[in-house]
């Protein structure tokens, strides 16, 4: 008889051949060495298949998606970059142009009135509808904290630790905290009277805050009006419409305010203000780093001063260098700079220097370069390439790590232009909405730590956005399998494209904006699709 075909042999191995044919076949097998070999091979294959199919696939990669069609990205991405380029070009032109007075508000460099409006809006909401604001905030806080917590917890537990990790995490959550290290106060008006000593870090949220006593820890304040006449032994963080410091801060002052008047002493000062006055009695032991619409520096800065703003006036003393980027810079009688003065001013503008003002080192005035020349200049500097490489490597490693921990994060698919637009829209909402929400949260007392945490998450999201976009592009081009190696190759390619795209002259910033918006949108979409199973 001739040898049976593979189907027959397979059926025989599977025990599915009818009895008469089995007898027939077996009599053949007795004499045919080839067929015996084939039966053995098929049997081994069957065993291997059964073995492989019973294998526990690594859960980590089983949920990751394999492939993304590239169509949606191929059309939408260049279009979005073109739109963003146009927008950025208009904004850039407005920033460079000296607009006539009536149109001055169009310039993105002029923030006059915006902080005021923001404060007014927030405090109006607080005054008129206190219940609504508070209710909304507490709901938002509870939801976001619990969402974040469960997300992190389940990711860690599932990927890394199993039950032991869950128990540890719960123990950690349940462990008693040194609750005495923090004091919260909330009222319409909060006063720490002279002679009173607060032994710990103090968090205050109120309309009016007066501190005449002593705070031994840090002081964190969100208020309409802050007056500090006493002493803070730690650092001072504040968010206020108007702030006046006549007392002493032994740490550094960080602030965000419409107006700040600094009459007292501090180790250093950093922040952003619409109007900043360091009065003649004001003294900073070390550095001053501020962005201010207008800044008057009449007091003393021990070391360096970095100033960004529109009009800067210097009447006091700076121990070392002054680095200023402004529209106008004026040095009046009595001003003294111990080191160099570096000024970046618009072309044709000079430092106004009174005869009595003295600069010990050099005065260097650099005309502010045009944005376009600036882009091209990048490409001639070697450290620019080094930075790109570092950025690339860091993003890549972070991306791989994220994939190993939370592969679901990379499961986004953008298949249509509509989905692309949706993602960019969500990204825009998050980009703009999150800071506003954080400021609102910071206004409530419990809100300050939550706002700081939220800020951290927000910054993380900004960083991860590019990685998500890189992974999406890489996946759509390479269509990798779910394994880490394949994903790594796709990520390498995609991130390379994104980061090089950022560095391109002229359209680079537009690529950056689109990638940021898209990445944030992908993150939002991922969080929204998270199943609470």
């Amino acid at each position: 008889m001739s040898c049976p075909n593979e189907i027959t042999l397979c059926a025989y191995v599977d025990g599915e051949l009818p009895a008469p044919r089995v007898r027939h076949l077996e009599s053949h097998l007795v004499t045919c060495l080839d067929c015996r070999g084939r039966v053995l091979a098929l049997r081994e294959e069957a065993a291997l298949l059964a073995d492989a199919l019973h294998e526990r696939a690594p859960e980590v990669f089983a949920v990751a998606p394999a492939a993304v069609p590239a169509r949606g990205l191929a059309f939408s991405f260049p279009l979005a970059i073109a739109v963003a380029s146009v927008v950025l070009a208009v904004v850039g032109a407005l920033a460079e142009a000296r607009l006539p007075g009536g149109l001055g508000f169009l310039s993105p460099l002029r923030l006059m009135g915006v902080p005021e409006m923001l404060f007014d809006l927030v405090f109006l909401l607080r005054d008129r509808t206190p219940g609504l604001l508070e209710l909304g905030l507490s709901v938002a806080v509870v939801v976001s904290v619990s969402a974040l917590g469960s997300f992190a917890l389940s990711a860690v537990v599932r990927r890394l630790a199993g039950t032991a990790g869950l128990v540890l995490a719960l123990l950690w959550l349940a462990a008693p905290r040194p609750s005495a290290a923090l004091e919260l106060r909330s009222d319409e008006e909060v006063t720490v009277p002279a002679g009173q000593v607060v032994d710990q870090t103090l968090l205050v949220g109120a309309d009016v805050v007066n501190v005449d006593g002593v705070v031994r820890g840090d002081l964190l304040v969100a208020a309409e009006r802050l007056t500090l006449r006493g002493t803070v032994e730690g650092n001072l963080f504040f968010f206020a419409q108007e702030a006046e410091i006549t007392g002493r801060v032994e740490g550094v002052v960080h602030g965000l305010a419409e107006r700040l008047r600094m009459d007292g002493e501090a180790r250093g000062l950093g922040g952003a203000f619409e109007r900043l006055v360091v009065a003649s009695d004001g003294k900073l032991e070390r550095d001053l780093i501020v962005a201010a619409e207008s800044a008057n520096l009449d007091g003393e800065v021990g070391r360096d001063a970095w100033l960004f703003g529109e009009r800067l006036e210097l009447r006091g003393r700076v121990g070392r260098d002054v680095d200023a980027r402004a529209e106008q810079l004026a040095l009046f009688d009595g001003a003294r700079v111990g080191g160099d003065l570096d000024a970046r001013l618009p072309e044709g503008e000079e430092v106004e220097q009174a005869p009595g003002a003295r600069v010990v080192g050099e005065i260097r005035v650099t005309p502010r370069t045009s944005l376009h020349r600036h882009y091209l200049a990048h490409w001639r500097e070697p450290h620019f390439y080094a930075f790109l490489l570092i950025q690339f490597a860091a993003s890549f490693v972070t991306g791989l790590l994220l994939y190993a921990l939370v592969p679901r994060l990379f499961a986004s698919e953008v298949t249509t232009a509509r989905a692309f637009l949706g993602a960019v829209g969500w990204g825009f909402l998050l980009l703009v909405g999150a800071p506003v929400a954080l400021i609102l949260v910071a206004l409530t007392v419990v809100g300050i730590p939550v706002a700081l945490m939220g800020l951290f998450v927000y910054l993380t999201a900004l960083y991860v956005a590019d990685i998500l976009v890189g992974a999406l592009i890489g996946r759509s081009l390479l269509q990798p399998g779910p394994r880490l190696g394949a994903f790594g190759r796709a990520l390498l390619l995609g991130l390379g494209i994104v980061i090089l795209g950022h560095a391109l002259p002229f359209i680079g910033p537009a690529v950056g904006v689109v990638s940021l918006l898209l990445g944030l949108g992908l993150a939002v979409e991922r969080v929204r699709s998270w199943r609470w199973s």
Partner: protein
């Protein structure tokens, strides 16, 4: 009989413990080797079943817990997506609870349950694809059957090789993957597979033949590309 013993071929896996020189491990030992909790044994399952049929929800819950990993894995292998597999698993259990009366206690419960789940997955696939003749094998031409094709997979017993095989199975088309998984994971016989896929027994043999060939080609291809890179 000597030949059969020598080749280790038999009607069912359980019927040939230790046959021949090469022993195929049983599914139970495989599961233990994979580090899973051993599931409830068949007698325990039968006891639970008695109670479940009498309407004991707790017993059915126990059954669910002990067999859920097996069913979930089947659904994952068949459907490819973990999310969809999760849904399919719970729906398959619902279906099994509704159909407990149709279960023949003389047959292993696990296999019956896997068959129910497989049916459900095929239904899902049909809904997804809306194609009538999903598993109709194309006609075999004689030349294809006669051509030697890639030889059967052998000697690939390392863990990575198993992963590779698994990845290759996942990459197969539905009409090739389903018969393979039903045969070698759910351990359905040809009649069971035929019922499940809505084809004849002979067509099952043909589908399996094609599937194994495609799989070998796939692995030969990936091995070649792996070696060249």
């Amino acid at each position: 009989v000597d030949v059969r013993e020598a080749l280790g071929v038999g009607r069912s896996r359980a019927a040939r413990p230790g046959a021949g020189g090469r022993v195929i491990r049983f599914p139970a030992s495989r599961r233990q080797a994979a580090g899973e909790e051993p599931s409830v044994d068949e007698s325990g399952i039968q006891a639970l079943l008695e109670r479940a049929r009498a309407g004991d929800e707790v017993a059915f819950g126990e059954l669910f817990r002990s067999l859920e990993p097996d069913v979930h894995r089947l659904c994952t292998r068949l459907l490819g997506s973990a999310d969809e597999a999760r849904d399919a698993t719970s729906e398959a259990f619902l279906r099994a609870r509704g159909g407990l009366d149709g279960y023949d206690p003389d047959r292993p419960f696990r296999r019956w349950l896997l068959a129910v789940a497989a049916h459900h997955c095929v239904d899902r696939l049909r809904r997804r694809r809306r194609e009538e003749r999903l598993f109709d094998p194309r006609e075999l031409d004689a030349s294809e059957l006669a051509s030697p094709g890639p030889s059967p997979l052998q000697g690939l017993l390392r863990a990575e090789a198993r992963r590779e095989v698994l990845t290759a199975v996942e990459a197969l088309e539905d009409r090739h993957r389903f018969p393979l998984v039903l045969r070698y994971y759910a351990e359905l016989d040809y009649t069971g597979i035929a019922e499940c896929l809505g084809v004849t027994r002979n067509q099952v043999a043909t589908l399996l033949f094609h599937a194994r060939r495609r799989l070998r080609e796939e692995l030969a291809g990936s091995a070649a590309s792996g070696a060249s890179s």
